[in-house]
Symmetry: C2
Subunit: 310 residues, 2 copies
Amino acid sequence: MEQVLVGVDLGGTFIKFGIFKENGELLGKWQVPTGERAAQAVLSKITWEIVEKSGYAVNQMKGVGIGIPGAVDGQGMIINAPNLGWRMLDIKEPLLKKLSIPVQVGNDANVAALGEQYFGVGGGCSSMVMVTLGTGVGGGVIIDGRLVPGAFGGGGEIGHIQVNDQETVACGCGNKGCLEQYASATGIASLARRELERTDEASLLRSCTELTAKDVFDAVKDRDILADRVAEQFGQALAKALSYIACTVDPEVFVIGGGVSAAGPVLLNYIEKYYRQFAFTPSKQTPFKLAALGNDAGIYGAARLVMLNK
Amino acid sequence: MEQVLVGVDLGGTFIKFGIFKENGELLGKWQVPTGERAAQAVLSKITWEIVEKSGYAVNQMKGVGIGIPGAVDGQGMIINAPNLGWRMLDIKEPLLKKLSIPVQVGNDANVAALGEQYFGVGGGCSSMVMVTLGTGVGGGVIIDGRLVPGAFGGGGEIGHIQVNDQETVACGCGNKGCLEQYASATGIASLARRELERTDEASLLRSCTELTAKDVFDAVKDRDILADRVAEQFGQALAKALSYIACTVDPEVFVIGGGVSAAGPVLLNYIEKYYRQFAFTPSKQTPFKLAALGNDAGIYGAARLVMLNK
Protein backbone atom coordinates (compact mmCIF):
# COMPACT_ATOMS: atom_id res chain seq x y z
CA MET A 1 0.00 0.00 0.00
CA GLU A 2 1.34 3.43 -0.95
CA GLN A 3 2.58 5.33 2.10
CA VAL A 4 2.57 9.12 2.41
CA LEU A 5 4.04 11.80 4.70
CA VAL A 6 2.00 14.73 5.97
CA GLY A 7 3.64 18.14 6.41
CA VAL A 8 1.83 20.88 8.32
CA ASP A 9 2.92 24.52 8.64
CA LEU A 10 0.91 26.07 11.46
CA GLY A 11 0.93 29.86 11.31
CA GLY A 12 -0.96 32.55 13.18
CA THR A 13 -3.07 33.26 10.07
CA PHE A 14 -3.08 30.08 7.95
CA ILE A 15 -2.45 26.39 8.41
CA LYS A 16 -0.77 24.87 5.34
CA PHE A 17 -0.88 21.17 4.54
CA GLY A 18 1.18 19.08 2.16
CA ILE A 19 0.96 15.39 1.26
CA PHE A 20 4.22 13.84 0.11
CA LYS A 21 5.41 10.53 -1.25
CA GLU A 22 7.92 8.73 0.95
CA ASN A 23 10.73 10.13 -1.21
CA GLY A 24 9.47 13.66 -0.55
CA GLU A 25 7.64 14.27 -3.85
CA LEU A 26 4.76 16.70 -3.28
CA LEU A 27 1.42 15.05 -4.14
CA GLY A 28 -0.86 17.87 -3.08
CA LYS A 29 -1.17 20.90 -0.83
CA TRP A 30 -3.86 23.19 0.55
CA GLN A 31 -4.36 25.76 3.29
CA VAL A 32 -7.09 26.91 5.64
CA PRO A 33 -7.39 29.94 7.93
CA THR A 34 -6.10 29.20 11.44
CA GLY A 35 -9.22 30.69 13.04
CA GLU A 36 -9.71 30.13 16.74
CA ARG A 37 -6.30 29.71 18.39
CA ALA A 38 -7.18 27.62 21.43
CA ALA A 39 -5.06 24.47 21.26
CA GLN A 40 -8.02 22.10 21.19
CA ALA A 41 -9.67 23.95 18.32
CA VAL A 42 -6.45 24.06 16.29
CA LEU A 43 -5.69 20.38 16.89
CA SER A 44 -9.26 19.41 15.91
CA LYS A 45 -8.95 21.45 12.74
CA ILE A 46 -5.59 19.88 11.85
CA THR A 47 -6.96 16.39 12.45
CA TRP A 48 -10.10 17.05 10.45
CA GLU A 49 -8.18 18.46 7.49
CA ILE A 50 -5.75 15.54 7.44
CA VAL A 51 -8.48 12.92 7.68
CA GLU A 52 -11.01 14.55 5.37
CA LYS A 53 -8.96 16.39 2.75
CA SER A 54 -5.70 14.51 2.26
CA GLY A 55 -7.22 11.86 0.02
CA TYR A 56 -5.37 9.15 1.94
CA ALA A 57 -6.44 6.84 4.74
CA VAL A 58 -4.74 7.41 8.07
CA ASN A 59 -3.15 3.96 7.96
CA GLN A 60 -1.36 5.01 4.75
CA MET A 61 0.32 7.88 6.57
CA LYS A 62 3.82 7.24 7.92
CA GLY A 63 3.62 10.29 10.13
CA VAL A 64 2.80 13.96 10.49
CA GLY A 65 5.37 16.74 10.88
CA ILE A 66 4.29 20.15 12.17
CA GLY A 67 6.08 23.50 12.20
CA ILE A 68 4.96 25.81 15.02
CA PRO A 69 5.53 29.58 15.34
CA GLY A 70 7.35 29.42 18.66
CA ALA A 71 10.08 27.80 20.74
CA VAL A 72 10.03 24.00 20.59
CA ASP A 73 12.53 21.83 22.47
CA GLY A 74 14.37 18.77 21.22
CA GLN A 75 11.53 16.49 22.32
CA GLY A 76 8.93 18.49 20.39
CA MET A 77 7.46 20.16 23.49
CA ILE A 78 6.14 23.64 22.69
CA ILE A 79 7.75 25.96 25.24
CA ASN A 80 6.16 29.18 24.07
CA ALA A 81 4.22 30.19 20.94
CA PRO A 82 3.21 33.81 21.57
CA ASN A 83 1.21 34.23 18.32
CA LEU A 84 -1.02 31.33 19.34
CA GLY A 85 -0.99 32.08 23.06
CA TRP A 86 0.42 28.61 23.80
CA ARG A 87 2.89 27.84 26.63
CA MET A 88 4.41 24.52 27.73
CA LEU A 89 2.13 22.50 25.53
CA ASP A 90 2.56 18.98 24.19
CA ILE A 91 0.58 18.50 20.99
CA LYS A 92 2.28 15.26 19.97
CA GLU A 93 0.45 13.12 22.49
CA PRO A 94 -3.13 14.37 21.75
CA LEU A 95 -2.53 14.17 17.97
CA LEU A 96 -1.08 10.69 18.31
CA LYS A 97 -4.21 9.69 20.24
CA LYS A 98 -6.49 11.09 17.55
CA LEU A 99 -4.58 9.78 14.52
CA SER A 100 -2.55 6.82 15.82
CA ILE A 101 0.43 7.85 13.69
CA PRO A 102 3.77 9.35 14.79
CA VAL A 103 3.86 13.15 15.14
CA GLN A 104 6.98 15.34 14.98
CA VAL A 105 6.96 18.98 16.04
CA GLY A 106 9.50 21.73 15.39
CA ASN A 107 9.87 25.50 15.30
CA ASP A 108 8.54 26.89 11.99
CA ALA A 109 11.75 28.64 10.89
CA ASN A 110 13.81 25.60 11.93
CA VAL A 111 11.50 23.33 9.94
CA ALA A 112 11.58 25.62 6.88
CA ALA A 113 15.39 25.45 7.01
CA LEU A 114 15.19 21.66 7.02
CA GLY A 115 12.92 21.83 3.96
CA GLU A 116 15.43 24.00 2.10
CA GLN A 117 18.37 21.85 3.19
CA TYR A 118 16.91 18.62 1.90
CA PHE A 119 14.47 19.54 -0.87
CA GLY A 120 15.49 23.09 -1.77
CA VAL A 121 18.63 25.05 -2.42
CA GLY A 122 20.68 23.07 0.14
CA GLY A 123 20.65 20.06 -2.16
CA GLY A 124 20.97 17.65 0.75
CA CYS A 125 24.14 19.28 2.12
CA SER A 126 25.31 18.13 5.54
CA SER A 127 25.37 21.48 7.34
CA MET A 128 23.50 24.70 6.60
CA VAL A 129 22.29 27.81 8.36
CA MET A 130 19.17 29.49 7.01
CA VAL A 131 17.97 32.95 7.99
CA THR A 132 14.32 33.74 7.39
CA LEU A 133 13.76 37.46 6.90
CA GLY A 134 10.04 38.03 7.42
CA THR A 135 8.02 40.17 9.82
CA GLY A 136 10.64 38.96 12.31
CA VAL A 137 13.95 37.19 11.76
CA GLY A 138 14.01 33.44 12.36
CA GLY A 139 16.41 30.77 11.36
CA GLY A 140 17.44 27.17 11.40
CA VAL A 141 20.74 25.44 12.05
CA ILE A 142 21.36 22.06 10.46
CA ILE A 143 24.29 19.87 11.44
CA ASP A 144 24.86 16.37 10.02
CA GLY A 145 21.59 16.69 8.11
CA ARG A 146 19.55 17.24 11.29
CA LEU A 147 18.01 20.27 12.93
CA VAL A 148 19.52 21.79 16.05
CA PRO A 149 16.37 22.76 18.00
CA GLY A 150 18.45 23.57 21.08
CA ALA A 151 18.14 22.27 24.60
CA PHE A 152 15.59 24.96 25.50
CA GLY A 153 14.11 25.64 22.08
CA GLY A 154 16.50 28.52 21.32
CA GLY A 155 18.39 26.90 18.41
CA GLY A 156 18.47 29.07 15.29
CA GLU A 157 16.97 32.11 17.06
CA ILE A 158 19.25 34.22 14.94
CA GLY A 159 16.99 37.27 15.09
CA HIS A 160 17.91 37.79 18.71
CA ILE A 161 21.66 37.87 18.31
CA GLN A 162 22.72 41.33 19.43
CA VAL A 163 24.48 43.22 16.67
CA ASN A 164 24.42 46.78 18.03
CA ASP A 165 25.10 47.56 21.67
CA GLN A 166 24.54 51.29 21.06
CA GLU A 167 20.82 50.77 20.24
CA THR A 168 18.39 52.76 22.39
CA VAL A 169 15.12 51.28 21.09
CA ALA A 170 14.03 47.94 22.59
CA CYS A 171 13.35 44.81 20.54
CA GLY A 172 10.12 42.88 21.15
CA CYS A 173 12.15 40.46 23.30
CA GLY A 174 13.16 43.24 25.73
CA ASN A 175 16.83 43.39 24.75
CA LYS A 176 18.26 46.19 22.63
CA GLY A 177 20.10 45.92 19.31
CA CYS A 178 18.85 42.48 18.19
CA LEU A 179 19.43 41.55 14.54
CA GLU A 180 15.65 41.51 14.04
CA GLN A 181 15.63 45.28 14.56
CA TYR A 182 17.70 45.77 11.39
CA ALA A 183 17.09 42.77 9.15
CA SER A 184 13.39 41.93 9.41
CA ALA A 185 10.88 43.53 7.02
CA THR A 186 9.76 45.84 9.82
CA GLY A 187 13.38 46.48 10.85
CA ILE A 188 14.39 47.50 7.33
CA ALA A 189 11.39 49.83 7.10
CA SER A 190 12.38 51.40 10.45
CA LEU A 191 15.96 51.88 9.29
CA ALA A 192 14.60 53.65 6.20
CA ARG A 193 12.33 55.89 8.26
CA ARG A 194 15.27 56.80 10.49
CA GLU A 195 17.35 57.77 7.44
CA LEU A 196 14.48 59.80 5.96
CA GLU A 197 14.12 61.70 9.21
CA ARG A 198 17.85 62.17 9.72
CA THR A 199 18.39 63.97 6.40
CA ASP A 200 16.27 65.84 3.89
CA GLU A 201 18.01 64.42 0.84
CA ALA A 202 15.89 63.39 -2.12
CA SER A 203 14.82 59.76 -2.21
CA LEU A 204 12.24 57.65 -4.00
CA LEU A 205 11.24 56.43 -0.54
CA ARG A 206 9.78 59.83 0.36
CA SER A 207 6.82 59.18 -1.94
CA CYS A 208 5.94 55.81 -0.36
CA THR A 209 2.79 56.01 1.71
CA GLU A 210 3.42 52.92 3.82
CA LEU A 211 7.14 52.33 3.60
CA THR A 212 8.06 48.62 3.32
CA ALA A 213 11.25 46.56 2.94
CA LYS A 214 10.14 45.89 -0.63
CA ASP A 215 10.04 49.64 -1.32
CA VAL A 216 13.59 49.91 0.00
CA PHE A 217 14.99 47.20 -2.27
CA ASP A 218 12.95 48.44 -5.24
CA ALA A 219 14.54 51.87 -4.70
CA VAL A 220 17.97 50.21 -4.38
CA LYS A 221 17.43 48.68 -7.84
CA ASP A 222 16.59 52.20 -9.08
CA ARG A 223 19.95 53.41 -7.66
CA ASP A 224 18.43 55.46 -4.86
CA ILE A 225 21.31 56.63 -2.65
CA LEU A 226 19.38 56.78 0.61
CA ALA A 227 17.90 53.31 0.03
CA ASP A 228 21.39 52.04 -0.73
CA ARG A 229 22.55 53.33 2.64
CA VAL A 230 19.68 51.50 4.36
CA ALA A 231 20.60 48.30 2.52
CA GLU A 232 24.21 48.74 3.68
CA GLN A 233 23.05 48.94 7.30
CA PHE A 234 20.88 45.87 6.80
CA GLY A 235 23.73 43.93 5.18
CA GLN A 236 26.23 44.91 7.84
CA ALA A 237 23.94 43.84 10.70
CA LEU A 238 23.11 40.49 9.14
CA ALA A 239 26.71 39.80 8.11
CA LYS A 240 27.86 40.46 11.67
CA ALA A 241 25.47 37.89 13.08
CA LEU A 242 26.42 35.36 10.40
CA SER A 243 30.12 35.84 11.17
CA TYR A 244 29.37 34.93 14.81
CA ILE A 245 27.44 31.87 13.66
CA ALA A 246 30.33 30.80 11.43
CA CYS A 247 32.67 30.91 14.48
CA THR A 248 30.23 28.58 16.22
CA VAL A 249 29.06 25.96 13.70
CA ASP A 250 30.85 26.98 10.46
CA PRO A 251 28.19 25.69 8.03
CA GLU A 252 28.76 24.59 4.42
CA VAL A 253 26.35 27.24 3.18
CA PHE A 254 24.22 30.17 4.33
CA VAL A 255 20.70 30.38 2.90
CA ILE A 256 18.65 33.58 2.97
CA GLY A 257 14.88 33.15 2.83
CA GLY A 258 11.62 34.73 3.95
CA GLY A 259 9.56 37.51 2.36
CA VAL A 260 12.44 40.01 2.27
CA SER A 261 14.53 37.59 0.17
CA ALA A 262 12.07 38.14 -2.72
CA ALA A 263 14.26 41.20 -3.42
CA GLY A 264 16.57 38.70 -5.13
CA PRO A 265 20.32 38.52 -5.68
CA VAL A 266 20.88 42.23 -4.92
CA LEU A 267 20.20 41.34 -1.28
CA LEU A 268 23.10 38.89 -1.17
CA ASN A 269 25.54 41.53 -2.42
CA TYR A 270 24.91 43.67 0.64
CA ILE A 271 25.31 40.74 3.02
CA GLU A 272 28.28 38.97 1.41
CA LYS A 273 30.42 42.08 1.12
CA TYR A 274 30.39 42.59 4.89
CA TYR A 275 30.47 38.91 5.73
CA ARG A 276 33.76 38.41 3.80
CA GLN A 277 35.18 41.30 5.84
CA PHE A 278 33.93 40.17 9.28
CA ALA A 279 34.31 36.39 9.09
CA PHE A 280 37.18 34.52 10.74
CA THR A 281 39.74 33.08 8.30
CA PRO A 282 38.52 29.47 7.82
CA SER A 283 34.93 30.57 7.06
CA LYS A 284 35.62 33.66 4.94
CA GLN A 285 34.52 32.01 1.68
CA THR A 286 31.32 30.29 2.86
CA PRO A 287 28.83 30.47 -0.05
CA PHE A 288 25.49 32.30 0.20
CA LYS A 289 22.30 31.21 -1.56
CA LEU A 290 18.74 32.45 -1.80
CA ALA A 291 16.04 30.05 -0.60
CA ALA A 292 14.19 28.22 -3.38
CA LEU A 293 10.98 26.78 -1.90
CA GLY A 294 9.27 30.04 -0.90
CA ASN A 295 6.18 29.52 1.23
CA ASP A 296 6.31 25.76 0.74
CA ALA A 297 9.56 25.36 2.72
CA GLY A 298 7.53 24.77 5.89
CA ILE A 299 5.47 21.84 4.60
CA TYR A 300 8.52 20.29 2.91
CA GLY A 301 10.54 20.59 6.10
CA ALA A 302 7.70 19.12 8.14
CA ALA A 303 7.65 16.10 5.81
CA ARG A 304 11.42 15.81 6.20
CA LEU A 305 10.99 15.80 10.01
CA VAL A 306 8.88 12.66 9.57
CA MET A 307 11.48 11.07 7.27
CA LEU A 308 14.24 11.72 9.84
CA ASN A 309 12.28 10.32 12.75
CA LYS A 310 10.78 7.15 11.37
CA MET B 1 42.59 -9.81 24.05
CA GLU B 2 42.23 -6.54 25.93
CA GLN B 3 41.70 -3.61 23.59
CA VAL B 4 42.82 -0.04 24.30
CA LEU B 5 42.28 3.45 22.90
CA VAL B 6 45.13 5.91 22.39
CA GLY B 7 44.55 9.64 22.95
CA VAL B 8 47.15 12.16 21.79
CA ASP B 9 47.17 15.89 22.50
CA LEU B 10 49.65 17.51 20.15
CA GLY B 11 50.71 20.96 21.33
CA GLY B 12 53.37 23.39 20.17
CA THR B 13 55.47 22.59 23.28
CA PHE B 14 54.47 19.10 24.46
CA ILE B 15 52.84 16.01 23.03
CA LYS B 16 50.66 14.26 25.64
CA PHE B 17 49.67 10.61 25.40
CA GLY B 18 46.99 8.64 27.20
CA ILE B 19 46.10 4.95 27.05
CA PHE B 20 42.49 4.13 27.86
CA LYS B 21 40.35 1.06 28.33
CA GLU B 22 37.53 0.75 25.81
CA ASN B 23 35.15 2.24 28.39
CA GLY B 24 37.40 5.30 28.66
CA GLU B 25 39.15 4.44 31.93
CA LEU B 26 42.65 6.00 31.91
CA LEU B 27 45.33 3.30 32.17
CA GLY B 28 48.37 5.51 31.83
CA LYS B 29 49.63 8.82 30.48
CA TRP B 30 52.92 10.53 29.67
CA GLN B 31 54.25 13.49 27.73
CA VAL B 32 57.29 14.41 25.67
CA PRO B 33 58.55 17.73 24.28
CA THR B 34 57.27 18.37 20.75
CA GLY B 35 60.75 19.25 19.52
CA GLU B 36 61.19 19.63 15.77
CA ARG B 37 57.89 20.68 14.20
CA ALA B 38 58.27 19.33 10.67
CA ALA B 39 55.33 17.00 10.04
CA GLN B 40 57.48 13.95 9.35
CA ALA B 41 59.47 14.40 12.56
CA VAL B 42 56.32 14.88 14.66
CA LEU B 43 54.57 11.87 13.13
CA SER B 44 57.65 9.69 13.66
CA LYS B 45 57.82 10.79 17.28
CA ILE B 46 54.11 10.06 17.84
CA THR B 47 54.43 6.63 16.25
CA TRP B 48 57.56 5.77 18.23
CA GLU B 49 55.99 6.85 21.54
CA ILE B 50 52.83 4.84 20.88
CA VAL B 51 54.69 1.72 19.84
CA GLU B 52 57.48 1.85 22.41
CA LYS B 53 55.95 3.41 25.50
CA SER B 54 52.28 2.49 25.58
CA GLY B 55 52.88 -0.99 26.99
CA TYR B 56 50.40 -2.41 24.46
CA ALA B 57 50.88 -4.06 21.09
CA VAL B 58 49.56 -2.14 18.11
CA ASN B 59 47.05 -4.90 17.34
CA GLN B 60 45.53 -4.31 20.79
CA MET B 61 44.79 -0.69 19.88
CA LYS B 62 41.30 0.11 18.54
CA GLY B 63 42.47 3.44 17.24
CA VAL B 64 44.33 6.67 17.86
CA GLY B 65 42.70 10.07 18.33
CA ILE B 66 44.75 13.22 17.99
CA GLY B 67 44.01 16.83 18.93
CA ILE B 68 45.86 19.41 16.80
CA PRO B 69 46.43 23.12 17.54
CA GLY B 70 44.76 24.39 14.37
CA ALA B 71 41.76 24.26 12.04
CA VAL B 72 40.71 20.71 11.15
CA ASP B 73 37.78 19.97 8.86
CA GLY B 74 35.08 17.32 9.31
CA GLN B 75 37.19 14.71 7.51
CA GLY B 76 40.18 15.27 9.80
CA MET B 77 42.18 17.23 7.22
CA ILE B 78 44.42 19.84 8.88
CA ILE B 79 43.66 23.11 7.13
CA ASN B 80 46.06 25.31 9.05
CA ALA B 81 48.06 24.83 12.26
CA PRO B 82 50.11 28.03 12.61
CA ASN B 83 52.00 26.95 15.77
CA LEU B 84 53.35 23.93 13.91
CA GLY B 85 53.70 25.64 10.53
CA TRP B 86 51.37 23.07 8.93
CA ARG B 87 48.92 23.84 6.10
CA MET B 88 46.55 21.53 4.20
CA LEU B 89 48.04 18.41 5.68
CA ASP B 90 46.58 14.94 6.02
CA ILE B 91 48.21 13.07 8.90
CA LYS B 92 45.59 10.30 9.06
CA GLU B 93 46.85 8.49 5.99
CA PRO B 94 50.59 8.40 6.90
CA LEU B 95 49.81 7.38 10.51
CA LEU B 96 47.42 4.68 9.30
CA LYS B 97 50.22 3.39 7.05
CA LYS B 98 52.69 3.29 9.92
CA LEU B 99 50.37 1.82 12.56
CA SER B 100 47.62 0.02 10.59
CA ILE B 101 44.97 1.26 13.03
CA PRO B 102 42.26 3.88 12.50
CA VAL B 103 43.28 7.49 13.20
CA GLN B 104 40.92 10.36 14.07
CA VAL B 105 42.02 13.99 14.04
CA GLY B 106 40.35 17.06 15.51
CA ASN B 107 41.09 20.60 16.64
CA ASP B 108 42.61 20.59 20.15
CA ALA B 109 40.01 22.82 21.80
CA ASN B 110 37.20 20.90 20.06
CA VAL B 111 38.68 17.62 21.27
CA ALA B 112 39.13 18.91 24.83
CA ALA B 113 35.45 19.89 24.81
CA LEU B 114 34.54 16.36 23.77
CA GLY B 115 36.61 15.01 26.68
CA GLU B 116 34.77 17.23 29.16
CA GLN B 117 31.38 16.40 27.63
CA TYR B 118 31.79 12.65 27.94
CA PHE B 119 34.28 12.04 30.75
CA GLY B 120 34.28 15.33 32.62
CA VAL B 121 31.82 17.88 33.89
CA GLY B 122 29.40 17.36 30.98
CA GLY B 123 28.46 13.95 32.37
CA GLY B 124 27.59 12.65 28.92
CA CYS B 125 25.08 15.42 28.17
CA SER B 126 23.79 15.65 24.63
CA SER B 127 24.77 19.23 23.83
CA MET B 128 27.44 21.44 25.34
CA VAL B 129 29.59 24.42 24.45
CA MET B 130 32.99 24.69 26.07
CA VAL B 131 35.19 27.77 26.03
CA THR B 132 38.89 27.26 26.67
CA LEU B 133 40.50 30.36 28.13
CA GLY B 134 44.24 29.95 27.63
CA THR B 135 46.88 32.00 25.83
CA GLY B 136 44.13 32.32 23.21
CA VAL B 137 40.42 31.52 23.40
CA GLY B 138 39.31 28.26 21.82
CA GLY B 139 36.19 26.25 22.14
CA GLY B 140 34.17 23.25 21.16
CA VAL B 141 30.54 22.80 20.19
CA ILE B 142 28.91 19.45 20.83
CA ILE B 143 25.51 18.55 19.40
CA ASP B 144 23.90 15.13 19.83
CA GLY B 145 27.03 13.95 21.62
CA ARG B 146 29.27 14.72 18.63
CA LEU B 147 31.68 17.51 17.82
CA VAL B 148 30.82 20.19 15.29
CA PRO B 149 34.19 20.69 13.57
CA GLY B 150 32.56 22.88 10.90
CA ALA B 151 32.63 22.56 7.14
CA PHE B 152 35.88 24.54 6.89
CA GLY B 153 37.35 23.79 10.33
CA GLY B 154 35.88 26.92 11.94
CA GLY B 155 33.48 25.18 14.36
CA GLY B 156 33.90 26.35 17.96
CA GLU B 157 36.29 29.18 17.03
CA ILE B 158 34.65 31.21 19.74
CA GLY B 159 37.69 33.38 20.34
CA HIS B 160 37.12 35.12 17.03
CA ILE B 161 33.54 36.17 17.59
CA GLN B 162 33.57 39.96 17.50
CA VAL B 163 32.33 41.46 20.75
CA ASN B 164 33.48 45.07 20.42
CA ASP B 165 33.20 46.97 17.16
CA GLN B 166 34.80 50.06 18.74
CA GLU B 167 38.16 48.29 19.23
CA THR B 168 41.17 50.00 17.62
CA VAL B 169 43.80 47.32 18.33
CA ALA B 170 43.94 44.36 15.93
CA CYS B 171 43.59 40.72 17.01
CA GLY B 172 46.14 38.18 15.78
CA CYS B 173 43.59 37.15 13.13
CA GLY B 174 43.54 40.64 11.60
CA ASN B 175 40.03 41.59 12.72
CA LYS B 176 39.40 44.00 15.60
CA GLY B 177 37.42 43.37 18.78
CA CYS B 178 37.56 39.55 18.85
CA LEU B 179 36.58 37.86 22.13
CA GLU B 180 40.17 36.59 22.45
CA GLN B 181 41.30 40.19 22.98
CA TYR B 182 39.32 40.36 26.25
CA ALA B 183 38.95 36.83 27.55
CA SER B 184 42.27 35.06 26.93
CA ALA B 185 45.01 35.13 29.56
CA THR B 186 46.87 37.68 27.45
CA GLY B 187 43.65 39.61 26.78
CA ILE B 188 42.83 39.87 30.48
CA ALA B 189 46.37 41.07 31.22
CA SER B 190 46.02 43.71 28.46
CA LEU B 191 42.69 44.89 29.87
CA ALA B 192 44.38 45.26 33.25
CA ARG B 193 47.28 47.21 31.79
CA ARG B 194 44.83 49.52 30.01
CA GLU B 195 42.99 50.18 33.30
CA LEU B 196 46.27 50.79 35.17
CA GLU B 197 47.30 53.31 32.51
CA ARG B 198 43.89 54.97 32.32
CA THR B 199 43.77 55.89 36.02
CA ASP B 200 46.24 56.29 38.86
CA GLU B 201 44.03 54.68 41.48
CA ALA B 202 45.63 52.30 43.95
CA SER B 203 45.58 48.62 43.00
CA LEU B 204 47.37 45.46 44.04
CA LEU B 205 48.10 44.99 40.35
CA ARG B 206 50.53 47.93 40.36
CA SER B 207 53.08 45.85 42.27
CA CYS B 208 53.00 42.92 39.79
CA THR B 209 56.16 42.78 37.72
CA GLU B 210 54.73 40.68 34.87
CA LEU B 211 51.01 41.17 35.10
CA THR B 212 49.04 37.96 34.38
CA ALA B 213 45.39 36.90 34.31
CA LYS B 214 46.10 34.98 37.53
CA ASP B 215 47.24 38.20 39.20
CA VAL B 216 43.98 39.84 38.14
CA PHE B 217 41.76 37.14 39.65
CA ASP B 218 43.95 36.88 42.76
CA ALA B 219 43.45 40.62 43.24
CA VAL B 220 39.71 40.19 42.61
CA LYS B 221 39.62 37.70 45.49
CA ASP B 222 41.39 40.34 47.61
CA ARG B 223 38.60 42.81 46.70
CA ASP B 224 40.78 45.01 44.53
CA ILE B 225 38.46 47.53 42.84
CA LEU B 226 40.48 47.99 39.67
CA ALA B 227 40.87 44.23 39.22
CA ASP B 228 37.12 43.86 39.76
CA ARG B 229 36.54 46.32 36.90
CA VAL B 230 38.81 44.27 34.64
CA ALA B 231 36.92 41.10 35.56
CA GLU B 232 33.64 42.87 34.71
CA GLN B 233 34.97 43.73 31.25
CA PHE B 234 36.13 40.14 30.81
CA GLY B 235 32.77 38.74 31.95
CA GLN B 236 30.78 41.10 29.77
CA ALA B 237 32.77 40.24 26.63
CA LEU B 238 32.53 36.49 27.19
CA ALA B 239 28.84 36.63 28.13
CA LYS B 240 28.09 38.53 24.95
CA ALA B 241 29.69 35.87 22.78
CA LEU B 242 27.93 33.09 24.71
CA SER B 243 24.57 34.81 24.26
CA TYR B 244 25.15 34.75 20.47
CA ILE B 245 26.07 31.09 20.66
CA ALA B 246 22.90 30.33 22.62
CA CYS B 247 20.83 31.94 19.83
CA THR B 248 22.56 29.58 17.42
CA VAL B 249 22.81 26.14 19.08
CA ASP B 250 21.25 26.71 22.55
CA PRO B 251 23.32 24.10 24.43
CA GLU B 252 22.30 22.26 27.62
CA VAL B 253 25.32 23.66 29.45
CA PHE B 254 28.26 26.05 29.04
CA VAL B 255 31.62 24.82 30.33
CA ILE B 256 34.52 27.18 31.04
CA GLY B 257 37.99 25.64 30.92
CA GLY B 258 41.61 26.45 30.15
CA GLY B 259 44.31 27.96 32.34
CA VAL B 260 42.30 31.07 33.23
CA SER B 261 39.50 28.88 34.67
CA ALA B 262 41.87 27.87 37.48
CA ALA B 263 40.66 31.12 39.10
CA GLY B 264 37.65 29.05 40.13
CA PRO B 265 33.98 29.83 40.77
CA VAL B 266 34.57 33.60 41.08
CA LEU B 267 35.12 33.58 37.32
CA LEU B 268 31.64 32.21 36.65
CA ASN B 269 30.01 35.00 38.67
CA TYR B 270 31.37 37.62 36.29
CA ILE B 271 30.24 35.68 33.23
CA GLU B 272 26.81 34.48 34.41
CA LYS B 273 25.67 37.88 35.62
CA TYR B 274 25.99 39.38 32.14
CA TYR B 275 24.89 36.24 30.34
CA ARG B 276 21.52 36.22 32.18
CA GLN B 277 21.09 39.82 31.07
CA PHE B 278 22.10 39.39 27.40
CA ALA B 279 20.63 35.98 26.58
CA PHE B 280 17.40 35.54 24.61
CA THR B 281 14.46 34.30 26.65
CA PRO B 282 14.54 30.50 26.08
CA SER B 283 18.25 30.26 26.96
CA LYS B 284 18.41 32.71 29.86
CA GLN B 285 18.84 29.99 32.49
CA THR B 286 21.45 27.80 30.77
CA PRO B 287 23.75 26.46 33.51
CA PHE B 288 27.48 27.23 33.65
CA LYS B 289 30.14 24.83 34.92
CA LEU B 290 33.90 24.86 35.34
CA ALA B 291 35.84 22.21 33.42
CA ALA B 292 36.95 19.23 35.50
CA LEU B 293 39.66 17.40 33.57
CA GLY B 294 42.28 20.16 33.44
CA ASN B 295 45.18 19.40 31.12
CA ASP B 296 43.95 15.84 30.57
CA ALA B 297 40.82 16.96 28.69
CA GLY B 298 42.72 16.70 25.40
CA ILE B 299 43.78 13.07 25.76
CA TYR B 300 40.35 12.06 27.09
CA GLY B 301 38.63 13.79 24.18
CA ALA B 302 41.02 12.18 21.70
CA ALA B 303 40.10 8.75 23.13
CA ARG B 304 36.43 9.68 22.81
CA LEU B 305 37.00 10.58 19.15
CA VAL B 306 38.09 6.98 18.63
CA MET B 307 35.04 5.65 20.50
CA LEU B 308 32.71 7.73 18.32
CA ASN B 309 34.31 6.68 15.06
CA LYS B 310 34.80 2.97 15.50
